[in-house]
């Protein structure tokens, strides 16, 4: 499946989630798994919009969502500032609400919901790849 191209804006999150759900549903993922995939894709796209393209209003996000055997592979590419999820600290989930830093849960959710999350950056842009096996 070719890349889908989206303006890097929050109003396109709906469409991004819908694309992922369509591929997952067609390939027999459970509704629970589909929600997880939509959430991981939403978080990945939100990070690109918020961090990679911070202060940039005309950024573009490219997404592909394909099957590789029994696994779904979601790839997102951008040309913004590199934002490597591996460099984000784990949130302290045991801290009380009043002690917690607000936010910082998106990367945690991506890692928790997907089997693999990898990130590569080069002169041609940043590529985030997430996979999850069908149960």
């Amino acid at each position: 499946m070719p890349d889908h191209t989206f303006p890097a804006k929050f109003e396109f999150l709906d469409e991004i989630r819908e694309q992922v759900a369509n591929v997952a549903r067609t390939n027999g993922f459970s509704e629970k798994a589909i929600y997880s995939l939509q959430l991981a894709a939403d978080e990945a796209a939100s990070n690109i919009i918020e961090h990679a393209y911070e202060g940039i209003s005309d950024g573009t996000l490219f997404m592909s969502c394909t099957m590789n055997g029994d696994s779904i592979v979601i790839t997102m590419r951008d040309h913004g500032t590199p934002f490597n999820p591996a460099e984000v600290r784990e949130p302290n989930l045991k801290a009380d609400l009043s002690e917690r830093q607000i936010g910082g849960l998106g990367v945690y959710l991506m890692r928790k919901l997907m089997d693999t999350v990898t990130y590569k950056t080069s002169n041609s842009g940043n590529v985030l790849t997430m996979t999850k096996k069908r149960e």
Binding site: R17, K32, S46, L97, I102, L109
Partner: protein, 135 residues
């Protein structure tokens, strides 16, 4: 996302959320919560019966709603994400007394549990019981 507000008892506002609470819409929840608190409500019941999706941005909105409902300074939403993350925190911990949740779907409960928010937000499936719990 759509939010409708009903005031069924003195000091309690119910915010009925419909659609997706994500990076595009999370400010709407904070704005609605600010509005009812400014209008005199002391307690907020968030009706999630029609909420289809929540991301980490939605969790930020819940977090901020909990903090401002117990008297922390309201953030200036024109300053965006940074303002939300800088809301002061008090030492009052544990289950939130002034913000509770009604009827989230299973996938949303799973997300709340995954990030530990089920320790802070009481979840009800019966509206009358939820309303009584504020007294």
């Amino acid at each position: 996302m759509d939010i409708t507000i009903t005031n069924e008892q003195e000091n309690i506002s119910i915010l009925h959320l419909s659609g997706a609470l994500d990076g595009q819409t999370y400010r709407e929840l904070v704005t609605a919560a600010q509005g009812v608190l400014t209008g005199g409500a002391k307690n907020i019941l968030i009706d999630m019966s029609e909420l289809t999706f929540i991301s980490s941005a939605g969790l930020v909105a819940l977090h901020v709603t909990a903090l401002i409902s117990r008297g922390e300074a309201m953030p200036n939403l024109d300053q965006g994400w940074t303002a939300l993350k800088s809301v002061g925190t008090s030492r009052e911990g544990g289950m939130q007394k002034h913000v509770k949740l009604l009827n989230p779907r299973k996938e949303i409960v799973d997300v709340l549990e995954m990030v530990g928010f089920s320790l802070f937000f009481e979840i009800f499936t019966d509206k009358d019981k939820a309303l009584k719990s504020f007294s």
